[in-house]
Each structure stands twice: as structure tokens, then as C-alpha cells.
Amino acid sequence: MKAVYFAWVRERIGLSEEEIAPPREVATVRELIDWLSARGDGYAAAFANPGVIRAAVDKIHAGPNAPIDAAREIAFFPPMTGG
């Protein structure tokens, strides 16, 4: 699946997108955040405070318990500041 990052999540990770292949037991958005956090310092910094991280699964807002098994694209970003 594809992971995409925006705003300071993108800056801290140092990538705007990448292909990822989490193991089968990583089943939810929250579990994916934990799995990504272990990939390096940038990821750990980006996800240090998971409570402020927002996610979208296939371009629809998704909560921490949303399943990711059917996802093609998962996005992580800070709270939105548009408008």
C-alpha cells in the first residue's frame, strides 16, 4: 500500500510518499502508526504524539481503529488548517 504524508508529518519523515508493506498483524490505523514509528528517528518524531495525528484511508477521514487491510492509500497529517 502507499503511505502519504503532509505538512510537518511529511517534513519530519522527510518523504511525501512511499510504498509500505506492513505485516498482516498490523490491522488498524493506530497499529500502522506504531509500526511506522519504529522505522527511524524521523518517523518517531512525526508520530511522537499520536493523539494529534489525523489519518485518511483512501482519501476518507479515518479514526485510529479503522481497518487498513483493504486500503490502497493511507495518509497521515496534522489537524487541518484550511479555510
Binding site: 502519504v4 503532509f6 505538512a7 482519501k59 476518507i60 495518509a75 489537524p79 488548517t81 484550511g82
Partner: protein, 156 residues
């Protein structure tokens, strides 16, 4: 007999928009609109501290999420027309960021829908603002406001 729901116009673009042209398109040939509310959000210079805003967005999701918010407004209020334009990229103080047009028979519905749309766009549309400072110091990402969440909560 209630009229069919109008198709909202939703655009996400780097270019500036022309509110007068959007209004003319929305009202064209209509004689049933009694109230048109236009909201324009502009970039403030924060007393000279700001050189520009860099607006990042999530292409594809931005349009889709605005369309979902628009559909929710159309389901809640008897609107006759709805236009939402949101810009991304570099926006300087005094320049326009977002336009919401809501047309209805009565002013109460047009005002409520426009305000609802802005409250929801602020907290749900995938856009992020980074400040470019006039003194060239490193700019910060604009923090989301708790009051914006509270504003969106009002409509639940």
C-alpha cells in the same frame, strides 16, 4: 413540490478566483433566489509579520472532502445553489484563500449554510498553512484552533 437539489460547484486551484463571476454563474437565469451569501477568506499580514502563506493540500481528497461537506449542507438546508473554491500554493497578505457562495429563497438558510460550510472546511478539508515570515526567520505551521473544532461541533 420541492425542487431537486442543485449540483454544487467545487474547485481546488492555485489560481485566484473571481467572486463576481462565480456569483453570476450561480444566479444565471434564476428568479427564485432571494438571498445570496458570499464568504471570502483572505490572507492577513499579521501586523506585517507575514510575507506569505504556503498552503499545502491533499490532491484528490481535498476536492472529495469539500464535496462531502457540500452534500451535507445541501441535505440540511433548502439551497438553490452552492459554490466552493479553495486555493492552494503561495498566497500573500491581502489575497483570497477561499470562497463559499450559498443561494437560497430565504436569508436564514443562506447564512446558516455558508457558516456551516466554513466551520466544516476549517476542520475537515485537508489543507495546511505554513507561514513564510517577513523577517525571513523560519516559518511555522499554523496550529489548528480549538475554537475551530468547537465551531464545527455546534452543528452536530
Amino acid at each position: 413540490m420541492s425542487a431537486p437539489q442543485p449540483a454544487p460547484t467545487v474547485r481546488v486551484q492555485a489560481e485566484d478566483f473571481d467572486a463576481a463571476r462565480e456569483e453570476a454563474l450561480l444566479l444565471e437565469g434564476r428568479r427564485d433566489v432571494g438571498a445570496l451569501v458570499a464568504f471570502t477568506g483572505l490572507c492577513r499580514d499579521e501586523d506585517g509579520a507575514l510575507a506569505a502563506l504556503e498552503l499545502e493540500h491533499y490532491p484528490g481528497m481535498a476536492e472529495a472532502e469539500i464535496a462531502r461537506v457540500a452534500a451535507e449542507a445541501l441535505a440540511r438546508w433548502p439551497l438553490l445553489g452552492l459554490t466552493i473554491v479553495h486555493r492552494f500554493g503561495t498566497i500573500k497578505p491581502g489575497e483570497r484563500i477561499v470562497l463559499v457562495l450559498a443561494a437560497a429563497r430565504s436569508r436564514r438558510d443562506a447564512f446558516a449554510a455558508a457558516e456551516f460550510l466554513m466551520d466544516y472546511l476549517k476542520t475537515r478539508a485537508p489543507f495546511w498553512k505554513k507561514e513564510r515570515r517577513a523577517d525571513a526567520a523560519p516559518g511555522e505551521w499554523v496550529a489548528a484552533k480549538t475554537e475551530d473544532d468547537a465551531a464545527a461541533e455546534r452543528w452536530r
